[in-house]
Symmetry: C2
Subunit: 225 residues, 2 copies
């Protein structure tokens, strides 16, 4: 009856009802285990979970305290573009708008950690022949297997299956449509577009790819808390 989720619930209740006020230290694991009549490992699991959510802050020796300002953490699932389109009940296709090998601008070169030439690739993703997303991407051939024919497989899809694990950062913004994006998406320049920018690095920290995704108007990124 005292599963770790039950304990998590009870701890949350005490925080919510201010039995344990914001910022206050809570009893140690051993004490709580004794109180709840379970093993310390069970309490540990519950508290670790709450710490991962940002509700608690834990430090060795210092103990556990309720987060003073509970930072909300939300998990975003970032699917492959094909899946996003198909989730809308539309058929996905893509068109390569341009591909070339060029020396990148300074900002990109620095982000990718290389001075050599990169592959520049512009792709338009469509759902039932309607523009869905404009993809402007830099690829670092020095950090990637031989590039395929991007007309056959989109870079987005090729990358998730050929570079299984990597780190990087994502940023979201709202930008006015550039001339290129407007033309590709069939909207007026300056229209508000939802932008996703991603920088991906391999295990050695080399830049693999940098991409700017401009979503057609109406796109919403959603998640539950």
């Amino acid at each position: 009856m005292t599963g770790w989720e039950d304990i998590r619930t009870e701890v949350l209740r005490r925080i919510r009802t201010r039995v344990w006020p914001l910022g206050a230290a809570i009893p140690g694991e051993a004490v709580l285990a004794a109180e709840f009549g379970c093993a310390r490992a069970t309490v540990n699991r519950a508290l670790r979970d709450l710490a991962a959510q940002g509700v608690l802050e834990r430090r060795r020796k210092a103990g556990t305290r309720v987060a003073a300002i509970p930072v909300r953490k939300a998990t975003l699932e970032i699917p492959v573009i094909r899946q996003q389109v198909e989730a809308l009940g539309r058929r996905h296709s893509h068109r390569v708008l341009g591909q070339s090998v060029v020396i990148p601008p300074e900002a990109i070169a620095q982000a990718m950690g290389t001075k050599g030439p990169l592959v520049w690739l512009e792709t338009l993703h469509l759902g039932d022949a309607v523009p869905f997303l404009h993809e402007a991407r830099w690829l670092n051939p020095a950090a990637l297997p031989p590039l395929p024919d991007f007309m056959a497989i989109s870079a987005n899809e090729w990358l998730v299956t050929s570079v299984t694990y990597a780190t990087g950062e994502i940023a979201f913004a709202a930008d006015p449509a550039s001339a290129t994006e407007a033309a590709a998406l069939g909207v007026a320049p300056g229209v508000a577009l939802f932008i996703t920018e991603r920088l991906t690095q391999d295990a050695e920290g080399r830049g693999i790819t940098q991409v700017r995704l401009a979503h057609a108007p109406g796109y919403r990124l959603r998640t539950v808390m």
Copy 2:
């Protein structure tokens, strides 16, 4: 030497190098524990972590398999507005632009799960007296403690500390600035704004608050993968 993180690393390596291809089933916990020379619980911890990341899919009895399409999961930290402003090295302040009690439009009433009147609140957040964010919020007084004076404490801040735990959903979008938002933020109507919309519910599923945050141009939401 065989901590659960080491095992996680090794499992990831096998996935990356296609020893275990995408979509394939991997050996059971007991088998892996024997191979790595550790307890099953240790393997379990590693595999659970990878499943939480979306790299593996696990089902009782069915076993564990590599995710066919590795859905990327990113964790967003959603701080209080004050913290966002202060993180930029600016001093936070807020101004209440309007507060009233009205019957909400149909869409809001449905989202909040009530037909009664709600509190409508418009707030402008500033950093060093420069407009930072426009907050347009519905509050459900039936699901909240008595409302404070929102000129003294912003609704954003009051809510995180008085409603410690709740569920809800968040959506991000890019919208053109409405007349109200443009005026408040001091930008031209139609300018691309980054919008955060949040619907918060309490433990019983009652709508607590619904808010639309319009960030001043230049705002970027960032996270690491």
